[in-house]
């Protein structure tokens, strides 16, 4: 017997999903567990695995269209079955031509209708409304307030026990606040909404014939590492409000310090080891820069665990030198050498590359003068180190002198590090690099 395929909640916060792609067309046979379509939600695109078996007799929602939870998206059955009864009682209005706006209006109309049902329900003493198999949990007081304010309950996310809508949620909704946090809902402005709801189809853009002939495109599979880099850095870039501070540092003293160190110890210390040590000293004085945003609180790290971005043939990794505040430059250098070696051999252990409280990325050796880096979570800041370059500068005596300038750019997560805090840290770091003795002050 033919059955409806309903849109289900594929993530806890999802209230509707967009059919990104049908994997099974009308007439295709489907087994339990087969992916019938890809559904795009507020958070991600997910595979919809069938819990039914049979043949797709009808697709009711087209690719690019949205369906609310509980809406029928397809009918599954055996070929030749009469499905008119199933079609009749569901979504008579869902057509391809309906624009987003019309959907919106329908949604809110539906919401209002539900509310008047609520009123009737209460009058007759029923427990609550049921529509499309879904009962909206709301306290009686919240229902009354929603009813009075003409607010559709299905638009509100409940914060009470078991997701129940309570008074505060209705009040927050009508005050235009975000339902989750009861904070101003900046991302809910209508213009933004329309933009956000039209997903950019990259494949379609790539496929556009003429612009890019199909035989001129080569596809490379995405490795696990590339996937992690992609998702972690996107997450960081889009969730952490970045801002950038750049400072020019006179590096002659750094060069001299390194030369002196190498001469007196007979070793070969890298600039990175020196920079790591200097950063650790500056972090001691600016603990908020060695911290992590956790949403409801901020973790302040008491140890300076500093990561260094190391390029690999197939990506990059950030080995971490722990507790640099309590280590000497030579110790840091030895560890760093070891870690970089392992990074290039792909043999780093998770505890050797996870949990940096601060990161350094140095592209100076490529001649890059200045760049901005993306923060490497859980850290809240990353230092982008540019090339050392002899530059004419006007010194304190108004004389032109040739000095080695190195540009440092600090990317900060503004949720943790305010502008003045980031600036004070960077100034401190500059002072230490130019006059390492100042680290002892």
């Amino acid at each position: 017997m033919a059955e409806k395929v309903l849109m289900i909640a594929l993530s806890p916060t999802m209230d509707s999903g967009l059919i990104a792609r049908w994997h099974k067309g009308e007439g295709d046979r489907v087994e339990i567990g087969d992916v019938i379509c890809e559904v795009e939600t507020d958070k991600a695109t997910m595979d919809y695995e069938s819990t039914q078996e049979g043949v797709i007799l009808k697709q009711l929602v087209k690719e690019g269209e949205k369906a609310g939870i509980g809406d029928t998206i397809a009918i599954i059955g055996e070929p030749g079955e009469d499905i008119s009864a199933l079609l009749d009682d569901d979504r008579p209005l869902s057509g391809a031509g309906l624009s987003e706006t019309v959907h919106e209006t329908m949604d809110s109309l539906k919401g209002t209708a539900r509310d008047s049902e609520t009123a009737i329900d209460q009058g007759s003493g029923k427990a609550g409304e049921i529509e499309g198999g879904r009962r909206i949990k709301a306290s009686p007081l919240a229902r009354r307030l929603a009813e009075e304010g003409g607010i559709p309950l299905d638009r509100i996310k409940g914060s009470g026990p078991d997701g129940r809508i309570v008074k505060a949620d209705v009040e927050a909704y009508s005050a235009g606040l975000d339902n989750d946090t009861h904070m101003p809902a900046v991302d809910k402005a209508p213009a933004m909404q329309t933009v956000a709801k039209k997903p950019f189809d990259r494949q379609a853009a790539v496929d556009k014939a003429g612009v890019m002939p199909a035989d001129k495109v080569r596809y490379v599979p995405v490795t696990g590492k590339r996937n992690i880099i992609a998702s972690r850095l996107s997450e960081s870039m889009y969730s952490a409000p970045h801002y950038y501070l750049t400072v020019s540092v006179v590096a002659d003293n750094l060069i001299e310090t390194r030369r002196h160190l190498n001469e007196s110890t007979g070793s070969k210390v890298s600039y990175n080891a020196l920079l790591i040590k200097y950063v650790a000293e500056a972090l001691k004085r600016h603990p908020m820069v060695n911290a992590s945003w956790l949403g409801d609180r901020i973790a302040l790290f008491t140890s300076a665990d500093i990561g260094l971005a190391v390029a690999q043939p197939d990506g990059l990794i950030t080995p971490v030198v722990r507790d640099c505040g309590n280590k000497g430059i030579l110790a840091i250098e030895n560890e760093l050498k070891d870690l970089i070696e392992k990074a290039r051999n792909n043999s780093l252990l998770p505890e050797e590359y996870q949990g940096a409280g601060f990161t350094i990325s140095n592209l100076g050796s490529y001649g890059i003068e200045q760049f901005t880096a993306i923060i490497n979570p859980p850290a809240s800041a990353i230092l982008a180190v540019g090339a050392m370059k002899r530059t004419p500068v006007v010194d304190d005596d108004r004389q032109i002198a040739v000095k080695t300038i190195m540009k440092l750019t600090l990317s900060c997560d503004h949720r943790v590090i305010d502008g003045a805090v980031g600036a004070a840290f960077l100034k401190n770091l500059k002072d230490i690099i130019e006059d390492p003795v100042s680290a002892l002050y």
């Binding site: 306290s139 009470g160 901020i298 140890s303 949990g355």
Partner: protein
Amino acid sequence: MKQDFDYDLLVLGGGPGGYVAAIRASRLGLKTAVIERDKLGGVCLNVGCIPSKSLIHQAKMFDSLGELESLGVTVDRKGLDHKKVYSKSRKAADTLSRGVSYLMKKNGIDVIQAEGVITGKNEISLSTGRKVTGRFIIIATGSRPKVIPGFEFDEKYVLSSTGALMLDKLPEKMLILGAGAIGVEFAYIMNSFGVEVVLVELMDRILPLEDEEISSLLARSFTKAGIKVMTGAKALSVSVEGDKARVELEDNKGTRSAVTVDKVLVAVGRTPNTDGIGLENIGIATEKGYIPVGDYYRTSVEGIYAIGDVVNTPLLAHVASKEGEIAAEDIAGISTQKRIDPLSIPGAVYCEPQVASFGLSEWRAKKEGVPYEKASFPYRGAGKSVAVGQPDGFVKVLYDPRTKELLGAHIIGADATEIIHELLLIRAAELLPEDVASMVHAHPTISEVVMEVMRAVEGKAVHV
């Protein structure tokens, strides 16, 4: 990045705030220790709620002998031995304190028997000379009876509530300074056991924070029972004369008088135990003795929380416990409510008739200009209260005129401290009056007054 600590959580104080926080934390997987200088269970369990409820229960039994006598039974009241009454109350306290020890053991919580002083963000120094460290600290050091100058406790003539609980012999006459919950409960206990009681209150009514009608009904009931109630009166001084205490009083008109009694109980409030616990070492400044806290009872110092009587929320055991749970859950990283809704905290006074309330009261609504409507229902309208001979009392509710949201409830009468919770559920679950008005209640019960007052909100109370 990780620093090693002896514990994930150190709880300073093992009262109803501290030990509940510790249990919650331990169940959430935190390695927890409780530091307690005296007995587990704190004031509440050892020298507060619990032993006083034992005394009240016994006082009530003794008091109801009059009813037996009305049936023709003769009882020799002279046989009352207060030592036995007292030791029963101690037994109750000890049983429960041992119960808390058991709970600590069962939940794998270390109990450190010592006085602790915070000496660092993650460190508490113990009176035993040892130091313990913890990633987080919850301060739950509670409070002690407030001292008023000139009436310092000697626990011989001038008693604190602790001293009054420890009496193993009844005085003939007692003067009680302060008619808050503690003063009123002792007035009831002592009067029931036949002690002559003078109850003195500085404000113009007893239980000055409760509903005004409740204060006056209780005052009438107390006066009828033989308690001398003096409101708007101030105690000026106390002096020991022979084996008696002489207290000089002044009424609000300036007229002075003196009362000579065996014992004076000073119950004028409580002082938070925030001195001598090392707050200065971590840079926490108190406000009026209380530790300022934000959401989840976090103090200004990262990783340090404060709950219960040391923070400026109602000084009640159940408030401390809930605050302890909220803090522990926050430490464990579980998102929960940020703080207790101040309008949803029940208060209970265990004299007879009992008093229980929560939320907005009329005097406060008027003072703060909060719009409200009210409904009330008398106890005598419920058959049960008449049948059991306790017809005095009423329930009063305040609600939002527009939405009918319950804003507060006030009960005086039999079992008030139990039936308050149905009303509290209405508020907490955001039910509407009609939800409870239409719910069938067993007949005859005292709880019918709750149903009736909700019907009264709807304008359709039956038994009035």
